[in-house]
């Protein structure tokens, strides 16, 4: 590796992110040695699981040059509708049916987003904001707002399946790592391969970089965009099912408010709102940073009430970093 190349590597967005994460961890570890226990990575995995899955959807949409703020609402619909159906005895005690209904919900709203953005060409933010409002309004109106906890027995079994369980010798608390951690791993690997090696994946980056150019080169841009929103809806509903399994609970607003967290993770991880940028590795690091800040702020002696602000500051940091790296593009509104 020649010198300029290695210099570029050490000052790249990704490496800056790594430095920040390391610095944060060191500071936390100095103040609270308990941070170094094996319980920390297990906790981080559990807390970051949903954020990472949602961030993968968001990344896909952002690569195409859009933004999606509807996934919390879509997630709520796809966890709550099968829950209600199961609760009322309409769905049998079979996890598969549950997942299918959830995926169907995700598909419907993903389709709606796709049609609005790619065929009717409504700006993605406004379209997904509207979808979000429609989804959550529909949910609360049609199914009520009661919290539900009854779920298929298969889900309880999955909940009890753990890869490793770490028991803290001092406190006796155990920290299990769920097998569901494989879902995001598989998703990430598959997605990375598709984005890197398939024509469709390259097309997503191409259209995010320059839509007209991508069309002229011959990418079916509308169809690609459409597919992106559908895939995003499906992954969202899958994540919602995982939420039900791990949290043993479903409510109509369980995931609401998650969108900022996820957008922050993506932006910090190097996705650009103008499209064409974003890598799985970056998003993983972004999720890690956000989850660290969220979970360990109190270890620094900062009250949890400042969590929202902390996420905002991380987001601001990501926004500024991305724009400074891209060079100052003066003269825009």
């Amino acid at each position: 590796m020649n010198r300029t190349k290695s210099k570029a590597f050490f000052t790249s967005n990704t490496m800056i992110l790594v430095y920040v994460i390391l610095a944060f961890s060191v500071v936390v570890a100095l103040r609270q040695p308990a941070f170094l226990s094996p319980a920390t990575p297990i906790n981080l995995c559990r807390a970051g699981l949903f954020t990472f899955c949602f961030a993968l959807c968001e990344m896909l949409v952002m690569i195409t040059g859009g933004i999606d703020v509807s996934f919390p609402a879509i997630g709520c619909v796809s966890m709550y509708v099968p829950m209600v159906l199961y609760d009322r005895g309409i769905l049998p005690d079979n996890g598969l049916y549950f997942v299918l209904v959830a995926l169907l919900c995700g598909l419907i709203f993903g389709l709606l987003n796709g049609v609005l953005v790619s065929y009717l060409r409504i700006p993605s933010l406004i379209a997904t904001l509207a979808t979000s409002s429609i989804a959550s309004g529909f949910l609360a109106f049609a199914f009520g707002v009661k919290d539900l906890t009854a779920m298929p027995t298969a889900f309880t079994k999955i909940y009890e399946m753990n890869l490793v369980t770490y028991t803290d010798p001092a406190s006796g608390l155990s920290y299990p790592l769920t097998v569901l951690i494989f879902v995001p791993v598989v998703l990430a690997v598959v997605m990375a391969l598709i984005l890197r090696y398939t024509m469709g994946g390259r097309g997503l980056y191409a259209m995010g970089g320059n839509l007209s150019a991508a069309r002229i080169v011959g990418f079916p841009v509308r169809r690609l965009q459409f597919t992106t929103y559908i895939v995003s809806g499906l992954i969202t509903s899958l994540t919602a099912v995982m939420y039900v399994i791990l949290m043993h609970n479903a409510s109509t607003t369980a995931l609401m408010g998650n969108e900022m967290l996820v957008i922050a993770a993506c932006v910090v991880g190097g996705c650009s709102l103008s499209g064409g940028k974003g890598t799985i590795g970056g998003v993983l690091l972004g999720t890690l940073l956000i989850t660290l800040v969220q979970n360990h702020l109190n270890m620094l002696g900062i009250d949890t009430r400042w969590q929202t602000l902390a996420v905002g500051i991380v987001l601001l940091f990501g926004v500024l970093m991305t724009s400074l790296q891209a060079g100052r593009g003066k003269g825009r509104v």
Binding site: P123, R305, T308, L316, V333
Partner: protein, 335 residues
Amino acid sequence: MKNPLARNKQVGTLIALMALVCVLMLIFCPGSYFTAKNAKSMLFQFPEYGILAFGMMLCMIAGGIDLSLVGIMNLSGLTAALILLALIPEGTEASAEFTAVALIVSSVAALLVGALCGLFNGFLIGYFGIPAMLVTLCSLQLFTGLVYGITGGPAVTGMCDAFKEIANGTIAGTFVPYVLPIFVIVLLVVAFILHKTKLGREIYYLGTNRKASVFSGINTLKTSMLTYMTSGILGGVSGILITSHLNAAKSSNGTSYTLLTILIVVLGGVHPDGGKGDVVGVTLSVLLMQMISNAFTLLHISQDVKNFANGALLILVLVCVMLIRKVEEKKKAQQ
């Protein structure tokens, strides 16, 4: 540059829609809709989000968007509440003069906070060239986080009665609420800025063609800072109103207003890409939305259905806008 026919069409459509609401309500519940009491309650409600919608309108005409308005609203509302509580603690009585001074000081502080928030947005957008959507999404999180951090969750309450009067009182001897003249003043000021000042022209140019406006010598940094500052001040006005109306300042007030204001602005003829729209359309659209929302309340339709309807309406309007645009483009291509 402006097409008077298109504008009249927009105004005509909005008035027709208002007439439609009236006819529907005449059929479904004539007894309660066309009453003085109902008219009065409507007059109290719309200025709060109508003023926010003007802020959103300014930013959208300039080709941006201001998603942080609700955050600005809550932050400046909290500022007003805290200053007022510091001057007149809960449960104490103050003389009329002192109360007036306290009200003015806290309101000015709220507007200042709004202006600062807006300047922050405008600076990031104009100086770094970051998309407005991302900047304001980020600052929404920051402002909301500040409010949540300061209050710690529960609402700040116990402001003096005079403060409650701002949004809940009427001008002595009439049924006109104080908020109505405030709304009219804001409307006139925004109309003046847009149509009679250099800033207004620059906002339109910026939204129509950003590159061209840079090359024609417009200081885009200054323009975007002023645009977002104005929007922030309007957020501040709204913040005072909502805090006074609910007599409580907290981080989750008015969260449904983001979608509502975007809906109002788009319905009022402002194109999300910028450069189009004016005060008349948006004002009519504010009134229309108030009529619809009021009709829903009287028909005992829940807030959830309202949210659903707002989302569906937004999509419907945008689909219409896009279709009309396509037809126009085709016409142009044929010529």
